[in-house]
Symmetry: C2
Subunit: 346 residues, 2 copies
C-alpha cells in the first residue's frame, strides 16, 4: 500500500492557518489506500526567540526522512531581516539541493489582475535555487567606516546551470506550446551570462522541438506586463527568478494564489512546497488569509510525488472556486479550505 | 552671454531620427542669447564594424570638453551582445563617473498604461551608476568545460553608496511628498544589503522631513504594478535599478516616453542624457519612432545645466502633445518633433 510521510512546517503568522487548510485538502483528495502520515516541526520566529535556533543539524536529519515538506511561511518583524531567510529557508534549499525552484503563473478565470484586458497568462518559471548571488559568497571590509567595501559574489557552475536548464527544457517539451525563454543579463554580466547562454544553446540542440528565445531581465519585466501571454516556460538564475516570479505572481492574480516548489528532482532529499506569500503578520490569526496558494502548493507536491490525478483534481477545484468568487462575500480561511476539500473529494 | 557646448551621439537605428528631433526642440526652446554649439560623434555599430573601436581614449578626451552629451541609442544585432553596451555605454558611465542614473516615471494624461484604472504614477528612480554587479569584476575558470565556474562580483563602497543616497534624499526633500524608498534585497545579499541599509538610515537622520521606507526588490515589482502611486523617489543599486526602471517605464506609458540622465553631479565630467529605449533596428529609417523620450531627455539635460524654465516648457509641451494624441492618426517622428518645437517656442 502507498504512503506519504509528510513534514509539516506551519511557521509564522498566517502560516499556521493556511497549512491547516492545505492539509485538509490533501486528506480529502487522497485515495483511501494512501496512508498519509504527517509530523509537525517548529521553525521560525517563535523557536528562534526561544532557543536561538533556526535549523539545527538534528532538524535537517529529521526532515530528510520525509517524502516531502509542506511549509506555510517563515518570517516575523521581531527577527532581524535575513536571519530566518538565510538561517532557515535558504539553508534548507542548499542542504537539500533544491535546485529547481518551480513557480507556475496562471491567470485563472474570475481572478483579478492589475493588467488591462485579462491576458491569457499560463507559464511556469524554473528558477535556479542553489547558486547565483544567493550563495552567501562575498564579504565586507572596513565595516562601518567611510571606507567600507561590501561585495556579493554570484557563483555559477556548468554543473548547476546545465541541470536546471535541462529540467526546464524537459518541462517545455512536455507542454503544448513547447517554448522556453532564458532570462539573464548577458550583455552586462558577461561571465555568468556567457555560461548560461552557452549551456542553454548547447542543451537546446537536444530539444529541437522546443522553440527558444533569450531575453534580458530588464526587458522581461516589460513583457511580463505588456505581453505576459507570450511566455510558456522561463528558465533563469536565482536572483532574476526571485524578482520576476514576484512580478509574475502580481500580474497573474497576486501572491494569494501563487504556489511554489523547491524541488530536488533526483529525490535524494525531500522537496519542499510553499506558497510564495510571506507570513503576513498584520492579518495573522484572524482567519483572513487565503489558503489557495498553499492548496496549489499541495498540488505541486502531489504531482512531484507522482499523484498526477489528485494534483489535477486540486487545480480544477481551485479554478472552479476562484471562478465562483466574483460578487460573493469574502470567506474565512477555513471556509475556503472546507469548500476546496468538498470539491476535491467529490 | 550664455552657451551650451553639446556633444551629440545619434548612434544606431532610430537613434539618428530621434536625436534630430531632440535637437530641433532644444533649438526652439532656448532663448536667443544662449549660443548652442553642437558637435556630432560617430559611435556605435557602424564605427565598430569599420574600425573595431567603441570608445577610444581620444574620444573620451574630446567628449570631456562638452557641457553635456545627448545620445540617441547604441546597439545593433550585427554586433555581439555586450560589446557596445560594455565597450561604449558602460565605459562612458564609468569614465565620466555618472553615478546618478536618473529615471523619472510619470504617467501623463492620455497615455496608455497596461495597468487598470490609470493610476497617478509620478516618481523618480535614482539608480546608482558606477558600482554593483556592473563593474565587470568576476571571471571564469575552465571555460567551456563541464567544470566551468563563472562569477560576477557586485562591488559596493561606502563612498559610492553614500553619495547616491544623499543625492536621492535631496531630490526627495525637494518634492512635495518628500518620500524616499530604498530598494534592495538585504535579507539575502547581506553584505551589500547591510552597507546600503546602514548608510540609508544614517543619511536619513540629516533629512528628518523625508519619510523613508525599505522594500525588497521582489516586493517592489509587485507594488510597481499594484500601487505605483505610492512611490515618490526610489534609490537603488545599479542592477536593481536597471530592472525596476524598465518595469517603471512599462507601467507609465512605455519606453516611448521614458527619459534618463547619466549624471555626474559635481560637473567634473559632462553628464549624458538618453532615452531609455534602444536602437529598435526593426523600425529604423522609417520615421516611425516616437522622439518623445529623447525630447524629455533634453528637458533633463536642460534642468541639469540650470535651464529650469526651458525644461519645464518642454515637459509642458510634451504633456499637451500626449494628451491630444488620443483618437488622432499616428504622426511621423519629425511631425511629432515639429509639433513639440512649435509648442515650446510659443
Ligand atoms: C524570503 C527570501 C529569502 C526568498 C528568496 O529571496 O528566495 C523569497 O523572496 C522567495 O522568493 O522565496
Ligand atoms: C544597455 C545596457 C547596458 C543598459 C544597462 O543595463 O544599464 C540598459 O539596459 C539601461 O538600462 O540603460
Amino acid at each position: 500500500s502507498r504512503s506519504i510521510n509528510l513534514a509539516v512546517i506551519p511557521g509564522d503568522g498566517i502560516g499556521q492557518e493556511v497549512v491547516a487548510e492545505g492539509l485538509k485538502v490533501l486528506s480529502a483528495v487522497l485515495p483511501q489506500d494512501v496512508k498519509l502520515e504527517t509530523k509537525e516541526y517548529d521553525f521560525g520566529a517563535r523557536r528562534y526567540h526561544a532557543t536561538g535556533e533556526t535549523l539545527t543539524d538534528a532538524d535537517a536529519e529529521a526532515l530528510k526522512k520525509h517524502d516531502a515538506i509542506l511549509l506555510g511561511a517563515i518570517g516575523d518583524p521581531s527577527v532581524p531581516s535575513g536571519v530566518l531567510e538565510r538561517g532557515f529557508l535558504l539553508k534548507l534549499r542548499f542542504l537539500f539541493d533544491h535546485h529547481v525552484n518551480l513557480r507556475p503563473s496562471k491567470l485563472l478565470p474570475g481572478v483579478e489582475t492589475p493588467l488591462k484586458g485579462q491576458p491569457a497568462i499560463d507559464f511556469v518559471v524554473v528558477r535556479e535555487g542553489t547558486e547565483g548571488p544567493y550563495t552567501g559568497n562575498g564579504g565586507t571590509i572596513r565595516k562601518g567606516t567611510p571606507h567600507e567595501v561590501a561585495t556579493e559574489v554570484s557563483v555559477n557552475t556548468a554543473f548547476g546551470v546545465e541541470r536546471v536548464v535541462r529540467d526546464a527544457f524537459a518541462r517545455a517539451q512536455a507542454r503544448p506550446r513547447k517554448k522556453l525563454a532564458l532570462i539573464h543579463k548577458n550583455n552586462v554580466l558577461a561571465f555568468a551570462g556567457h555560461l548560461w547562454t552557452n549551456i542553454f544553446n548547447k542543451v537546446a540542440e537536444e530539444f529541437p522541438d522546443v522553440t527558444t528565445e533569450y531575453m534580458h531581465v530588464d526587458a522581461a519585466t516589460i513583457y511580463l506586463v505588456t505581453q505576459p501571454e507570450r511566455f510558456d516556460v522561463i528558465v533563469t538564475d536565482n536572483l532574476f527568478g526571485d524578482i520576476i516570479t514576484d512580478l509574475a505572481a502580481a500580474v497573474s492574480g497576486g501572491i494569494g494564489v501563487a504556489a511554489s516548489g523547491n524541488i530536488n528532482p533526483s529525490g535524494e532529499f525531500p522537496s519542499m512546497f510553499e506558497p510564495v506569500h510571506g507570513s503576513a503578520p498584520d492579518i495573522a490569526g484572524q482567519g483572513k488569509a487565503d489558503p489557495t496558494a498553499t492548496v496549489l502548493s499541495v498540488a505541486l507536491l502531489l504531482r512531484h510525488l507522482g499523484y498526477d490525478a489528485e494534483a489535477a483534481r486540486i487545480d480544477e477545484a481551485v479554478s472552479v472556486d476562484l471562478a465562483e468568487r466574483t460578487g460573493k462575500p469574502a470567506r474565512s480561511t477555513s471556509e475556503i479550505g472546507d469548500a476546496l476539500a468538498v470539491r476535491v473529494a467529490g
